[in-house]
C-alpha cells in the first residue's frame, strides 16, 4: 500500500491532513521494511549535524531512504558511495547516470509527494514552500545545504553528508582528493605577467556571477580577475551586466555557462553587436562549459577547473 510514484501535483491541502496521510505511509514503510541491511562499520548513529543555516538536525539511525531535492547534493551523495541509500532525487538531478530521478521539484517542493517516498532523510538546497516545517511535522530529518560560497563550504557540505549517511571515511577521502586536485590546477597556472580578466556568462542576457559566489571563488583560486566584481552597486551576487561594460572590460577569457540553456558558443558570441573586438573573442578564448557543472558546487568542480585551467595556462604563456 505504499505509494511508489506519487504525482507531483500542486494540490493544496490542510497541513494537518497531509501530516495524517503521510504519517500513515511512514508507518506502513517502517512496518514493511525491516532493518536487516548491513551497516558499514564506520557508521555510528545517532549523529547531530549543524547545517550552514545554523539549524541542528539529529539523525537517529543510518538513513536508508534518502530523498535529495538538490542536484549538487545528489552528486555529492553518489560520490561518497551513499547512492544505494538514495530512493528519489528531484527533477533537476541528472548526474551521475542512473540516479533515481523523479518528478519531485526542489523549487516547488510538494511535501505530500516527498513524504510518499517514505524518506528517513531529506536533503535540499533551500527551504522553499515551508519544506523544513512540513518535514519537521512528519518527524523526518531534513538538511538544508545551500549554495556554497567557497570551495571550503563545498568540502564542509560533503563531510556533513558523509556524517548524515554514515559514509564519513568516503567523504573525507573525496575531500582530500579534491583538495589535491585543486592544488594541482593552481600550481599548473603560474603567476601571470599581468592580471587576466574573465567574464562568466550565465545566460544570453549577460547575467554573470561575482567573486562572492562559488564559481567566482574558483576563478579567484585560479588567479583571474572577474569583471562582474565591478558591479558592486548591485545588491545581487548574480548581476546582469551591461554589454557596454563587458566590451569595454575587454576580458581575456569568456566562460559560457549557457551552452545548454541558450546554445551559446564562440560563433554566437562573436556575432553579437560590438563583441568582435574583445580579446577573448579575437583570440578564440571563449570556452563553453556544461551549464550544470558550472552551477553546482559538488565534486564536478574539478571537471570545471579541468576545462578552464588549460585556457588560463595558454593565456599566461601569451601574456608572458
Amino acid at each position: 500500500m505504499r505509494m511508489h510514484q506519487p504525482r507531483a501535483s500542486a494540490k493544496l491541502a490542510k497541513p494537518t491532513r497531509i501530516a495524517a496521510v503521510v504519517a500513515l505511509f511512514v508507518l506502513a514503510a517502517c512496518g514493511s521494511a525491516p532493518s536487516a541491511a548491513s551497516t558499514p562499520p564506520a557508521a555510528r548513529f545517532p549523529v547531530t549535524i549543524t547545517t550552514p543555516g545554523g539549524a541542528t538536525v539529529t539523525i537517529e539511525h543510518q538513513p536508508r531512504r534518502v530523498v535529495s531535492l538538490s542536484p549538487t547534493a545528489t552528486e555529492m551523495l553518489f560520490a561518497i558511495s551513499a547512492g544505494p541509500q538514495v530512493v528519489a532525487v528531484d527533477d533537476q538531478s541528472n548526474y551521475p547516470a542512473g540516479v533515481p530521478t523523479t518528478k519531485l521539484s526542489g523549487f516547488q517542493p510538494n511535501i505530500e509527494a516527498i513524504a510518499g517516498y517514505a524518506p528517513d532523510l531529506v536533503i535540499a538546497s533551500e527551504d522553499t514552500g515551508s519544506l523544513v516545517h512540513g518535514m519537521q511535522a512528519l518527524n523526518v530529518p531534513i538538511l538544508i545545504e545551500p549554495a556554497a560560497k567557497t570551495l571550503d563550504d563545498a568540502y564542509t557540505q560533503i563531510k556533513q553528508l558523509g556524517l548524515a549517511t554514515g559514509h564519513v571515511a568516503e567523504a573525507d577521502a573525496l575531500v582530500a582528493k579534491m583538495r589535491t586536485q585543486v592544488a594541482a590546477f593552481v600550481s599548473l597556472v603560474a603567476k601571470p605577467a599581468r592580471t587576466l580578466r574573465v567574464y562568466h556568462e550565465l545566460d544570453s542576457t549577460y547575467y554573470s556571477a561575482t567573486s562572492a559566489t562559488f564559481i567566482g571563488q574558483v576563478y579567484k583560486v585560479l588567479g583571474l580577475q572577474n569583471i562582474a566584481d565591478g558591479a558592486t552597486g548591485a545588491a545581487t551576487d548574480y548581476p546582469q551586466l551591461s554589454a557596454e561594460y563587458i566590451v569595454n572590460s575587454n576580458p581575456d577569457l569568456i566562460v559560457l555557462a549557457d551552452t545548454k540553456c541558450c546554445k551559446q558558443d564562440l560563433t554566437t558570441v562573436a556575432s553579437r553587436p560590438g563583441w568582435g573586438v574583445i580579446a577573448a573573442v579575437k583570440n578564440g578564448q571563449v570556452v563553453g562549459v556544461d551549464d550544470d557543472i558550472a552551477s553546482r558546487w559538488g565534486p564536478r568542480v574539478i571537471d570545471f577547473m579541468q576545462a578552464i585551467a588549460p585556457r588560463v595556462q595558454q593565456l599566461e604563456k601569451q601574456a608572458a
Binding site: 544570453s204 548591485a234 551586466l241 561594460y245 569595454n248 553587436p273 560590438g274
Partner: protein
C-alpha cells in the same frame, strides 16, 4: 434650430478643432531631443561628450569607443525610442477604441501572449533561429498576435460587434489563460527561469541594429495607421449610435485601429519584452496636461512616450552600473508616482 446645430457640432468634432497646440508639439520635440542627448552621453562606460558627438557626426574617434557607441549605445537608444513611442501611441489608441481609461496595449492579451510565446521558445527551442532571426522574438510576436486575435474573435461571438465590454472581458480571460500556461511551463522548466524573468521585466540589454530593423517596418505602419485615424477616435467619443448616424462604421474603425496597434505592440514586445505602464501613463498624463482630443493625445503620446522610455532605459543602464536594472521596474517605479502627482494637481476629465 437645434436640429441643425447638433450635427454641425458633431461634424466639428471630426473635422475641426482642436488641433495640436504648437507649444506642446515643440515641448514634445525638445523633450525627445534632450532625452536622446542625455541617453547617448551617459552609460556604464564613460565616453567624453566630444567623442560621442564626434562619432555621431562622422569624425574619427578612438575605434574602441566608436565600437561601443555605434554597436551598443546608439542602437539601444533608437530601439528605446521606437518601443516607447509605439507603446504610448498604442495605449492611446486602445483607450480611444475601448473608451476605457484602464486600456493599455496589453488589454487584449498581447503581453500574456508574447510572454507565453517567449517562454515556450526559451524553454523548448533555446538558441534556435529562423532565417537568421532568433526564435524568441518571433514566438513572442506570434503569441501576442494569437492572443489578441483570439480575444477579438471570442469577444465578437459573445456580445457581437456592438459592445466593447465583451471584447475587454474576452481579453481578460485570454490573458489569464495564457498566463496560467506560461507560469506552468516556467515552473516545469526551472532551468530557464532567469531568462524568462529577464524577458517579462523587459530587456533592451541585448539591443542591436538588427532589433531596430526588425521592429521598424511594423512601427512605421502601425503609427501611420493610428495617425490617420486620430479624428475618427475623436468621433468615437460621441458614442456608437451617434457615430453610425454620421455614416462611419464603428466596427471597421475599431478593427483597423486594434489591428494596427496590436501589430506595433507585438513587434516592440518581441524585442523589448513586456515593458509595463508606458502605454497607460503617457497618454493619460498628456490628456490631463494638454487636452483630451486624440488629435492632441496621439502625436504627443508618440513624442513623450519615446522620450520617457529612452530616459527610463538610461536609468536602467546607469543606476547600478555596470549592472542593469530591469527597465520594467524603472517605468513602473518612476511612472506611477509621477502619474499620481499629475492626477492630483489637475482635475480628471473623461476620455
Amino acid at each position: 434650430m437645434a436640429e441643425v446645430t447638433a450635427p454641425a457640432r458633431r461634424l466639428a468634432i471630426i473635422t475641426g478643432l482642436p488641433s495640436l497646440p504648437w507649444l506642446w508639439a515643440a515641448a514634445g520635440v525638445v523633450t525627445l531631443v534632450a532625452s536622446c542627448a542625455i541617453a547617448v552621453l551617459t552609460g556604464p562606460v564613460h565616453i567624453a561628450p566630444a567623442t560621442v558627438f564626434g562619432a555621431l557626426f562622422g569624425a574619427t574617434v578612438d575605434p574602441g569607443q566608436a565600437n561601443i557607441l555605434w554597436s551598443l549605445r546608439f542602437p539601444r537608444v533608437v530601439l528605446g525610442l521606437l518601443v516607447g513611442g509605439m507603446l504610448a501611441i498604442a495605449g492611446a489608441a486602445y483607450q480611444g477604441v475601448f473608451r476605457n481609461p484602464l486600456a493599455d496595449p496589453y488589454l487584449l492579451g498581447a503581453a500574456a501572449g508574447a510572454n507565453l510565446g517567449a517562454t515556450l521558445a526559451i524553454a523548448f527551442a533555446p538558441g534556435t533561429s529562423v532565417i537568421g532571426v532568433n526564435v524568441v522574438p518571433l514566438a513572442a510576436f506570434a503569441g501576442a498576435g494569437a492572443a489578441v486575435a483570439g480575444a477579438y474573435m471570442l469577444g465578437q461571438t459573445v456580445t457581437g460587434a456592438r459592445s466593447t465590454i465583451g471584447l475587454i472581458l474576452a481579453g481578460v480571460a485570454i490573458a489569464a489563460f495564457f498566463n496560467a500556461i506560461q507560469i506552468y511551463i516556467q515552473q516545469a522548466q526551472t532551468g530557464s527561469i532567469r531568462q524568462v524573468y529577464s524577458w517579462i521585466l523587459g530587456r533592451l540589454t541585448t539591443a542591436g541594429w538588427d532589433g531596430v530593423l526588425l521592429v521598424l517596418p511594423y512601427v512605421l505602419l502601425s503609427v501611420g495607421v493610428i495617425f490617420l485615424h486620430r479624428r475618427l477616435l475623436d468621433a468615437l467619443t460621441l458614442g456608437d449610435d451617434e457615430v453610425s448616424n454620421l455614416g462611419i462604421s464603428v466596427r471597421r474603425v475599431r478593427l483597423i485601429v486594434v489591428v494596427a496597434a496590436t501589430l506595433g505592440t507585438a513587434a516592440v514586445v518581441a524585442v523589448g519584452g513586456t515593458i509595463a505602464f508606458v502605454g497607460l501613463i503617457i497618454p493619460h498624463t498628456i490628456r490631463l496636461l494638454a487636452g483630451r482630443s486624440y488629435r492632441v493625445v496621439i502625436p504627443l503620446s508618440l513624442l513623450f512616450g519615446a522620450g520617457f522610455l529612452v530616459l527610463a532605459d538610461t536609468a536602467a543602464r546607469t543606476m547600478l552600473a555596470p549592472a542593469e536594472v530591469p527597465i520594467g521596474v524603472i517605468t513602473a517605479f518612476v511612472g506611477a508616482p509621477f502619474f499620481i502627482a499629475v492626477m492630483r494637481s489637475t482635475r480628471v476629465s473623461a476620455l
